[in-house]
């Protein structure tokens, strides 16, 4: 896909988004005008701003049509193969991290995530890999759960219960 095509598609997407937001306000039955005794309705702000977004999108599409933007004149690839690989693999890795955090818990997910980046993608030595795979969850546990007292997701009950012994150990020995 060229940059020119990408700009057209993005312009259409932003226009559809803007119209969708306006529809959302209307569908929720929010007033987009003056309400006697109460002032501007709850829908005034999002509705009229979304209209502004729609107009800005139309302006972008018009500028694309008339070749006014540098992007509309560019036939270069929007994302080259190397970039697509790097970006897609990174985005997918984060996606997988979030899924894994939900099911197997933060710490196991972190270990797999770090292994993937450090060993599989980075091809670092086993020493470096192990230090990151083990060190990261420990650092995160100390920072978030001990210092910030934030309970990070532990996954399904099976994994959560398995992890409880670490918390129990900490509370027994340090509090």
């Amino acid at each position: 896909m060229t940059v020119r095509t990408a700009e057209l598609l993005m312009g259409i997407a932003t226009l559809v988004l803007s119209l969708g937001l306006m529809y959302n306000v209307w569908a929720d039955g929010l007033r987009v005008d003056w309400v006697d005794g109460r002032g501007p309705g709850a829908g005034v702000w999002p509705f009229w701003l979304s209209l502004g977004m729609a107009l800005a999108s139309v302006a972008t599409l018009y500028r694309w049509y008339s070749g006014a933007t540098p992007e509309s004149r560019s036939d270069a690839p929007y994302i080259d193969k190397d970039t697509l690989f790097l970006v897609a693999i990174s985005a997918f890795a984060i996606f997988a991290l979030l899924v894994m955090m939900t099911y197997i818990g933060t710490y196991l997910a972190l270990m797999i995530f770090m292994f993937f980046f450090v060993r599989v993608l980075g091809r670092h030595s086993w020493g470096v890999t192990n230090s990151f795979v083990i060190g990261t969850p420990i650092f995160i546990y100390l920072l978030f759960e001990v210092a910030l007292t934030k309970y990070l997701p532990k996954g399904l009950p099976f994994f959560e219960e398995g992890f409880l012994w670490i918390d129990n150990f900490r509370y027994e020995w340090f509090y």
């Binding site: 940059v3 990408a6 700009e7 993005m10 937001l21 306000v25 929720d28 929010l30 003056w34 109460r38 002032g39 501007p40 309705g41 709850a42 702000w45 999002p46 701003l49 979304s50 502004g52 977004m53 800005a56 999108s57 302006a59 972008t60 500028r63 933007t69 992007e71 994302i79 190397d82 970039t83 790097l86 970006v87 990174s90 985005a91 890795a93 984060i94 996606f95 991290l97 979030l98 955090m101 939900t102 933060t106 972190l110 995530f113 980046f117 450090v118 993608l121 980075g122 091809r123 670092h124 470096v128 990151f132 990261t136 995160i140 920072l143 978030f144 910030l148 934030k150 990070l152 997701p153």
Partner: protein, 504 residues
Amino acid sequence: METILVSLGGGLMQAFEPLNFFMIVAGCLAGLFVGCMPGLGSVNGVAILLPITFLVPPTAAIIFLAALYYGAMYGGAISSITLGIPGASTAVATVFDGRPMAQQGKADKALMAAAIASFIGGTVSIILFTLFAPPLAIFALKFGPQEEFALMLLAFATFIGLGGDDIPKTIFSILLGLVMAAVGFDIISGQPRMIFFDMVEFQRGIGFLVLAIGIYGIGEMLWTLESTKGQIQMHKVSMTWARMKENFGEIKLYINSTWLGSFLGFFVGTLPAAGATPAALMSYGLSKTFSKDPDSYGKGNVAGVAAPEAANNAASTGSMLPMITLGIPGSPTTAILLGGMIIWGLRPGPLLFQESPEFVWGLIGSMYVANVVTVLLNLALIPVFIRVLAMPFTLLTPIIFVLCVLGVFATTDRMFDTWIMLFIGVVGYLMRKLNYPVAPAVLAIVLGPLAERSMRQSLISSQGDVTTFITRPISLTCVLLAVLLISYPLIQKVVRKRKAAAAG
């Protein structure tokens, strides 16, 4: 003046309290690290590390983040000079002469000049900040909702008029940020709004940090992966005490450019859309214009390193002036700081000087200390940071991604927000590739609730009369300036066409 000095004395005392001083050192170190990493800058560092600052009291937290902001400005020069890749956009101009100097084997000279210029720029701007902030805050106490709204309008207009980006795309970005800020319950009627697909998670709204970390954490890293592809070439630097002394003696070669950058940077930094990047570029341009040897710029003139470095440091302090006194951030980084202050339970704006003087003066005092600490750490640790720069992206990237994900989760306690962050990060990256500016959206989501509240309060008090924004002198001035700024690109276009027609 006496009151300012007394308050400043108190602020300095606060800065030297053990916890605060530790936060200054930690912030400067973190900032130097973040600043020197290609693709990362103060805004990324502040966005990613903001959730961690909830560990300490607000004063210590803002001190840490302000020091980080400062350190990042210093650190940006390291990668610009040794790698030829700016740590952040604020250090782009430093590459112009810093890189040729490194290629000529004068990287140490360039790094030394950058550090000294940054220190002078920082010092000048903090003094100006101390002098301007209290009177501006007193003046701003006259502001009602009309003035507040007009001022925010002015802030957004600055992005349109002076941002230099595609105008319809800038407007879209601003409006998108404002609409995203409206997701959740209406601030006045309490009615639920923009609850997409009836998902209850949207009732709590979209936090500014989710957007900021999405864009500046995930999106920025994707952008950096694309632009560097992990292939960087570093120039060697030999820093010895004798060389440092020798380089220090050459300060006269760039002192004029440094003064120019310092004053220009501060005032440009106070403008909402401007910030450190245009300040550094303008400073470089003016320094070249006024130079006796303009042809040497771009070929390794040390003044070409000093001018933008002084300016970007001065601008970082300058951008805090409207944030503290008016509640309007002067840069994306200060927009995130402002959001953080709201989370900490503070109310940025003129009342901050009255309600939380210890917070404001503690911050100002810490800025003086941070400036000294950063220059010392910078000079002492340049060899260490150069080693850090050699760190492969496959080690740095996952750590940043993990901090982004867990930082968002720790702030909101919801996995839902981490999904939104990922979505925003990827979409933000794709939009940025098409020249959609992202900074206005971050500013807008922070200012959105304040802007809506002040607009509705103004209209309620005037019974729906929109002329309320132009019947009060301060508000009228802001509105007129906003109109002027919005029409500025159009005026420029007309003037250019007429000139071309006259020439043709």
